[in-house]
Symmetry: C2
């Protein structure tokens, strides 16, 4: 099955991310979040700069949101920085975990958490002359979803409850891929429990 997938058409979704707790006990917070999340549905590897996970789209988003929420639940000011990617022509077909069933393993544990998040995202549909139209369409979608915050240079601001923001990002990541140009990259930065967020909103 794996070897029959040609490069650039693989449904493997990847996320390279870092969690940055602005606290002296950052190691404890990061390790705690990684251990509290159920990471069994994704392939994961951590190096000295970031962590990469690969798998089905639903599991990558489910696992990422759980890790962020478990770190946020400590009350520390936490930043999440991630680059989602699919369809890179240079991608390999390994480390995929595409055989996992479509049952979310983290959502039942975190769905009742409430957490305000301020976020910024950028969409990069590769090798696509129509990429600006795709970006504008997804920014419109953010407005319709009620998570749009503000326009800015080089990104678009989102905010709201973390479940709403993650749901928008997952939907956008699915919609912004075209049949002809499957390589899509999306950068996401989140700020949580920031002293800049007065009263949590």
């Amino acid at each position: 099955m794996k070897s029959s997938l040609s490069c650039g058409t693989s449904p493997i979704v990847g996320l390279r991310f870092s969690i940055h707790p602005m606290a002296d006990n950052f190691v404890e917070i990061i390790k705690g979040a990684l251990s509290k999340a159920d990471t069994s549905n994704v392939w994961m590897h951590t190096d000295d700069v970031s962590t990469v996970m690969r798998g089905k789209e639903i599991h990558v988003f489910d696992t990422a949101k759980a890790i962020v929420l478990h770190a946020a639940a400590t009350g520390a000011h936490v930043a999440f920085n991630g680059t989602f990617s699919i369809g890179c022509p240079g991608d390999t077909t390994g480390d995929s975990y595409l055989e996992k069933e479509d049952v979310l393993v983290n959502e039942p544990n975190v769905k009742d958490y409430r957490q305000y998040v301020s976020s910024q995202f950028g969409l990069y549909p590769m090798n696509n002359p129509d990429y600006m139209a795709i970006i504008y369409k997804e920014v419109e979608r953010a407005k319709e979803c009620g998570v749009f915050n503000e326009s800015m240079h080089y990104a678009s601001g989102l905010h709201g409850d973390i479940h709403d923001v993650f749901a928008f990002l997952e939907e956008t990541f699915m919609h912004a891929r075209s049949e002809q140009n499957k390589h899509l990259v999306m950068t996401v930065n989140m700020s949580i429990n920031s002293p800049s967020h007065k009263g949590g909103s």
Copy 2:
């Protein structure tokens, strides 16, 4: 002068970035780094998630390196996350600071700092069918420059002295733009003073 620049052909280089000190006194470290760097050659604006700077390429890289170095000099474990961009068709011609002279204002103050950095970067030449060839060429350049660390999913690892790594990134950002497709995005993550870096290398 500004109004004669058409969208997508502007030489304005932008950087949206965050500095994340993994320490309880993160506010002090961030504010200290921003105040110690000379930011007079770039336009800057900070919001609750990140900071954006715009200006000539040489000044954006000079200012960014100085901010990172001043934060690193505190000894704290610091992460830098940045997205460099040029030539976005949706960009405006304002907030540009393109009239600044070509004299680096930070380099004389930071050139004697030595700082090991482990970094990961991604290049996204937009609307360009040859983008993968451009990426591979720049990875080869990293190897020739002696800053290449390792291959990985969704990024390439760099490491070494921060001056060498920044010099490579600036050169790559210049070389990866083609005449036909000027919109280029480059993501950079850096980890500094990490407990994972044994003995500083």
